[in-house]
């Protein structure tokens, strides 16, 4: 699957899109593929303040569990509740409908720490 060029990426395989001060975060296609079909997503609470690098969510398949980290600091302002009923949305559409949470970004300069698609591609094989 081609990596969306407009997104930003982290070493821990999250993707980030940015719109009007709000960052939307999910896991990459590579990441969902490592876990196989998801059975559960542990979502954070709205209103939680998180700092960059903090564990925020957990994605689980039948045999695996992985932490999802906040790529940037801020307040959680939205979570993808539909993942509670149908976690496999992440497998089907990791970069779209499978987003996990949104952060009201407190420090935009942290965006400099994120990678663009080309840099992410270098640390991640094609899947």
């Amino acid at each position: 699957m081609a990596l969306p060029q407009e997104l930003f990426y982290t070493k821990s395989h999250e993707w980030v899109s940015f719109d009007n001060g709000i960052a939307t975060i999910g896991i990459t296609d590579f990441a969902q593929h490592q876990l196989s079909d998801l059975t559960f997503v542990e979502l954070p609470d709205n209103g939680t303040t998180v700092s960059s690098g903090q564990e925020v969510a957990v994605v689980e398949s039948v045999k695996a569990a992985a932490d999802v980290y906040a790529p940037i600091s801020g307040e959680i302002v939205d979570i993808n509740n539909s993942l509670e009923d149908d976690p496999e949305i992440v497998n089907r559409d990791a970069f779209g409908e499978g987003w996990i949470f949104k952060i009201n970004v407190s420090n935009e300069s942290e965006f400099d720490e994120l990678m663009d698609a080309d840099s992410y591609q270098e640390i991640c094989p094609e899947s």
Partner: protein
């Protein structure tokens, strides 16, 4: 850089091995050590994964105590399983994403290792749809449950070698109420060197399947200092 395999010959207490895994995990996240794989046997223990349900335990805590079986809740994927002497446990502590083979999916690769080991001994192993692990016509032989933190793997896979599976009779393994558990000894008969042979084949196939050429270290000697200090106490 080569990856390191550390092999323990004597069974290790589950909590000690878990502490060891955490130390390696932390060191791997910080790039202080290369990708590693630990091969060991546990003292008898039942572990319950994230989604594990207690009603899969068929005995009460006193009865488990009497049988000499410890019980641990662990933050890996997967359900309830048993570990004990005669079963190899493989704990890869590696950063996923650096190698092309990682794109096959880590679960797929772990299963592949077991299937190739079975093939070495003339047994046909296979995957089952919607059930992880490695299977034979006589039942499930390898179980998988892992966790990723910052995309470094820990926990992993167990492979039943000798016919000492009594612990499985006290649980509903992995929630599989109608599936049998088996081991290599039941399939091809006993051999004095069976554990050693299977251990070697597991590491051999791990190196190939995961594309991580291995340098071997044994519990009692030659472990590099920086890994030694992470090591669990040996009995």
């Amino acid at each position: 850089m080569d990856s390191y395999a550390v092999i323990f010959k004597k069974p290790i207490d589950y909590s000690e091995a878990l502490q060891y895994q955490y130390r390696l995990l932390n060191a791997r996240q910080n790039d202080e050590i290369p990708d590693m794989v630990v091969l060991l046997q546990h003292k008898p223990v039942i572990t319950i994964g994230n989604r594990g349900r207690k009603n899969y335990l068929l005995k009460n805590l006193d009865e488990y105590k009497e049988l000499g079986i410890d019980i641990h809740h662990v933050e890996r994927g997967g359900d309830v399983t048993f570990h004990g002497p005669g079963q190899w446990v493989l704990y890869p502590i590696m950063k996923l994403g650096k190698k092309n083979v990682d794109s096959h999916g880590y679960l797929f690769n772990l299963e592949e290792i077991s299937i190739r080991v079975l093939d070495d001994f003339g047994i046909k192993g296979y995957r089952k749809k919607n059930k992880s692990g490695a299977w034979t016509d006589c039942g499930k032989i390898a179980a998988i449950g892992f966790r990723l933190k910052k995309w470094v793997t820990f926990h992993g896979m167990s492979f039943n070698v000798l016919d000492r599976l009594y612990g499985f009779e006290t649980i509903v393994p992995c929630g599989l109420e109608n599936d049998k558990i088996t081991c290599l000894e039941r399939l091809i008969g006993y051999d004095d060197y069976m554990m050693e042979k299977v251990g070697n084949r597991i590491l051999h196939h791990f190196a190939n399947v995961c594309d991580r050429p291995l340098k071997y270290f044994f519990d009692d000697n030659h472990i590099p200092e920086f890994i030694k200090k992470l090591k669990p106490p040996l009995n």
